[in-house]
C-alpha cells in the first residue's frame, strides 16, 4: 500500500487526473454492462410470465446464469462478413451505436454530488449524443450490402429523425421549467414531494418524452427497423457473433439511459417522493438518494418490457403521423403554456 501511495504521488498531476477519471468511467460502465446483461434476463422472464410461461430456467438456479451463457456463446461464434460488404464500416457500425449510449452517462448525476462531469450544458450534450447513435443503424444497414438491412436502416433513419424533434421539444419544456441546462439543477428545481416533480405540470411533455424514447430506442411497438415479420431482422440481419452482441448491448444500454433520463427530468431524480411531507418525510430521510433514482429508473425499464409484451407493432405511416401530427403540436402548445406559467410564476411549481 505504501509503495502504491509513493508511486501514485510520483505521477504528474495531469496523469493523476487522467487515471482517476478513467477509474470513475470504469466504475460507471462496468455495473452498467452487468445491468444490461441482467436486463435481458429480466425481459425474457417478465415477458415469459406475462405470456403464462416460465422463461429461461435451465442454466443455473432459476436461469440466473442465462445471460452469462449467452455472452459466452456469442463471443465464440464466427463473425460472418457478407460478400461485397464494406468491411470497415460493417465492423465499426455497432461501435458507433454503443459509444454514445455509454458516453451520455458522463453528465448523469447519480446523487447530489455524484457526477462524473458537472457541465453547464448537460441537457444539450445528452440530446446531441442520442442523435449521433442513429449513425450506427444507418451505416450497418448500408454496409451490409443487403436489401433487408438497407430497408431497416432507411426506416430507422426516418423514424429517429422524426421522433428526435418531439423529444427535443419535450426537453425544451423541461429546461424552461427548470431554468437550467445542468441536469443536477434540473433535479434541484423539482425539490419537494411527489407532486412537486415535473411530471405533473409537464404531464403532456412527460408522455411525449416517454413514448418518443421508446421510438428512439427502436423498441416494440416502434421496432419497424427490425420488423422480423417483414424484413427479417432489419438493419442487423447480416450481423452475427460479437458484432451482433454489441448492437444488442447498445439497444439495452439506450433503454436504461432513456429510463434514467425520464426519472431524472420528470420524476425528481434522486429526490425522495415524501420530501417535505409531514410524518412520512422525516421517516424516509435516511434513505440514500441513489436508492430512489434506482427505483424510478427500474420502473421505467419495466415499462419498456411491459410495452413490448402488450402492444402490437405500429404501421409505418401511423408512426410518422403520430410523430409529426400529434406529438410535435402537443409539445409546441405545452411549451407555450409552461412559458406563461414560468413568467407569471404559477403557484406551487413555479413561484
Amino acid at each position: 500500500m505504501e509503495l502504491f501511495n509513493s508511486l501514485w504521488g510520483a505521477l504528474p498531476a495531469e496523469l493523476q487526473y487522467l487515471v482517476w477519471t478513467l477509474v470513475k468511467i470504469v466504475v460507471i460502465v462496468l455495473p452498467l454492462m452487468l445491468i444490461v446483461a441482467y436486463y435481458t434476463y429480466a425481459e425474457r422472464k417478465i415477458i415469459g410470465y406475462m405470456q403464462v410461461r416460465i422463461g429461461p430456467n435451465r442454466v443455473g438456479p432459476k436461469g440466473w446464469l442465462q445471460p452469462i451463457a449467452d455472452a459466452v456463446k456469442l463471443m465464440f461464434k464466427e463473425i460472418v462478413l457478407p460478400t461485397k460488404a464494406n468491411k470497415l464500416l460493417f465492423v465499426i457500425a455497432p461501435v458507433i451505436t454503443l459509444g454514445p449510449a455509454l458516453a451520455a452517462w458522463a453528465v448523469f448525476p447519480f446523487d447530489e454530488e455524484l457526477v462524473l462531469a458537472d457541465i453547464n450544458a448537460g441537457l444539450l450534450y445528452i440530446l446531441a449524443l442520442t442523435s449521433v447513435g442513429v449513425y450506427g443503424v444507418i451505416i450497418a444497414g448500408w454496409a451490409s450490402n443487403s436489401k433487408y438491412a438497407f430497408l431497416g436502416a432507411l426506416r430507422s433513419a426516418a423514424q429517429i429523425v422524426s421522433y428526435e424533434i418531439a423529444m427535443g421539444f419535450a426537453l425544451v419544456g423541461v429546461l424552461v421549467a427548470a431554468g437550467s441546462l445542468n441536469l443536477g439543477d434540473i433535479v434541484k428545481a423539482q425539490e419537494g414531494g411527489l407532486f412537486s416533480w415535473f411530471w405533473l405540470p409537464l404531464l403532456p411533455l412527460f408522455g411525449v418524452y416517454l413514448i418518443s424514447g421508446v421510438a428512439e430506442t427502436n423498441r416494440a411497438p416502434f421496432d419497424v427497423a427490425e420488423g422480423e415479420s417483414e424484413i427479417v431482422a432489419g438493419f442487423h440481419v447480416e450481423y452475427s457473433g460479437m458484432v451482433f452482441a454489441v448492437f444488442f448491448l447498445a439497444e439495452y444500454a439506450n433503454m436504461i439511459l432513456i429510463s434514467a433520463l425520464t426519472a431524472l427530468m420528470f420524476m425528481g431524480g434522486w429526490l425522495s417522493p415524501f420530501h417535505g411531507w409531514p410524518l412520512l418525510g422525516p421517516l424516509f430521510d435516511w434513505v440514500p438518494g441513489f436508492f430512489w433514482l434506482v427505483i424510478k429508473t427500474a420502473f421505467f425499464m419495466f415499462l419498456f418490457l411491459w410495452f413490448r409484451a402488450t402492444f402490437p407493432r405500429y404501421r409505418y405511416d401511423q408512426i410518422m403521423r403520430l410523430g409529426w401530427k400529434v406529438f410535435i403540436p402537443i409539445t409546441i402548445v405545452w411549451i407555450a403554456v409552461v412559458g406563461l406559467a414560468v413568467v407569471y410564476q404559477m403557484p406551487w411549481w413555479f413561484d
Partner: protein
Amino acid sequence: MTLEKLIFYALSAVIIAAATMVITRRNPVHSALFLILAFVACSGIWLLAEAEFLAIVLVLVYVGAVMVLFLFVLMMLDIDIAVLRAGFIKMLPLGVVMAIAMAAELILIVGPDNFGLEKYAAPARHAADYSNTEELGSVLYTVYMYPFEIAAVILLVAIIAAIGLTMRKRPDTKYLDPANQVVVKREQRVRMVSMDAEKG
C-alpha cells in the same frame, strides 16, 4: 507545447484530412461520412474555444439531423460515378482558375494583414461557471431581437414554400383516416352468413 495546442493540431489535422477525403472519394456515401467526421472534429475545436453551445448544436443539428437526411438520400440514389467524372479534364482549367481566385480572396480577407494576435488580443478566459448558452440567449433576445425574428420568419416562409411545392393531391394512395379506422364497428367489417352444412 501545451496539451491544448496538441489537441487543437490533432483536431485540425483530422478536419483537413476528412475534408480532402470528402472531395476525393469516389463513393458519395463515403464522402458524406467523411463530412460528418469533419463536423465532429470542428465541434471539438469550438469546444476548445469555449463556445460549447455552438459546438453541441453543430453536432445536434448538422450531424444528428441534416447529415442523416443527406445520407438517407445519397444511399437511395444510384449515382453513376463515370457520368459525374466525364468532363473532368475539359473543365480542369476553369476549375483551377476558380480555385486560385477563391484562395486569393480568402488570403486577402483572413490573411496576416487583417488577423493576428497584434490586431485582436486573445480573449480572456472565463470562469468554470460561465454559461455560454445563457450569454448567447440573452444577446440574441435583446440586442439582436429584430434580425433574429426576421430570420425566423424567413425560415418559416421557406418551410411553407417547400411544403407548398411538394404537396399535391394523390388520389391513388390508399390512405385511411386513423380516426375512421378506430371507430369502425364489427357490423361494417363482418357479415354473418348462415349456411347449411355440405354433405360429402
